[in-house]
């Protein structure tokens, strides 16, 4: 069974992400890895901080632009549905994501979008690995543990 989904919105969003990453590389010479930005802000080194805050602020702005300006204004744009409050999943998931991405040096943006774009073998291994454990985890949580989280 396949869920109802909007392939055009998905593709368009993905293309925007790709363009964003290209801009960062072409002008600022940097890989767009969100986890990397977070890690550098958690343990900052002087003089190399601001642009990361600015990027993240922009990211929030882009999200807000969509949800609060585009969605009300344009027919066919759907607001992001609410997700049931799941504090244990959020805390546990967040801790492991923070820990794991610091170990691996990247996430879906760093290794996925940029790493694959660079044809990096390290990133390919990373992507296959995290997709693999992601899939197994969801299977275990949803189908073996009956959605315990």
């Amino acid at each position: 069974m396949i869920a109802e989904f909007n392939w055009l919105a998905a593709l368009a969003g993905g293309i925007l992400i790709g363009i964003s990453s290209t801009i960062m590389l072409a002008w600022n010479g940097r890989i767009t890895g969100i986890s990397g930005m977070v890690h550098m802000l958690v343990t900052p080194k002087a003089g190399d901080i601001n642009w990361r805050w600015i990027f993240l602020a922009g990211m929030l702005g882009g999200g807000a632009l969509y949800e609060y300006l585009l969605v009300p204004a344009m027919p066919g744009y759907s607001a992001t549905p609410a997700f049931g409050f799941a504090p244990i999943a959020m805390i546990l998931g967040g801790l492991i994501v923070g820990f794991g991405t610091r170990m691996s040096g990247g996430c879906t943006s760093g290794h996925g979008v940029c790493g694959l774009g660079r044809l990096s073998p390290r990133s390919l291994v990373a992507v296959i690995t995290f997709l693999g454990t992601g899939i197994v985890t969801v299977y275990v949580v949803r189908h073996l543990l009956a959605g315990i989280l």
Partner: protein
Amino acid sequence: MKQNITALVAGLLFGLGLAISQMIDPARVLGFLDVAGVWDPTLIFVLGGAVGVTVVAFRFVLRQQNPFLALTFRLPNKTEIDRPLILGSALFGIGWGISGYCPGPGITALVLGSWNSVLFVIALAVGSFLYSRFMDPTANQQSFNEPVSESL
């Protein structure tokens, strides 16, 4: 200064892309990872669209000697496929599968005003700090080729 403007514009496009593609909805992401359930292909189209752009555009960009504003390209210089890469990625996938969030969407979802993303982002920062403090303080600090001097 100009690099900050670039970061702002790029961030805006990134957040817009995440929201339009519904990647800030954990249900969609979990639906993709849920291969045994009602499968949601959305993420494939998002990643496909993004990598479709970067795999072509990065080629052209990296042919340049230098970026337009910064002094040099700062690219990861590790080549070895080592245990931290694999183990870290495995852990990342587990955390992703538990929460339905990865860093970008988790942060962007803050604009939706739900406590979920707040908890996620705080935990993300704590997890990062714990790794740095107890495992490897050099991780994710600098493994890029550093320019001699830089104007920001």
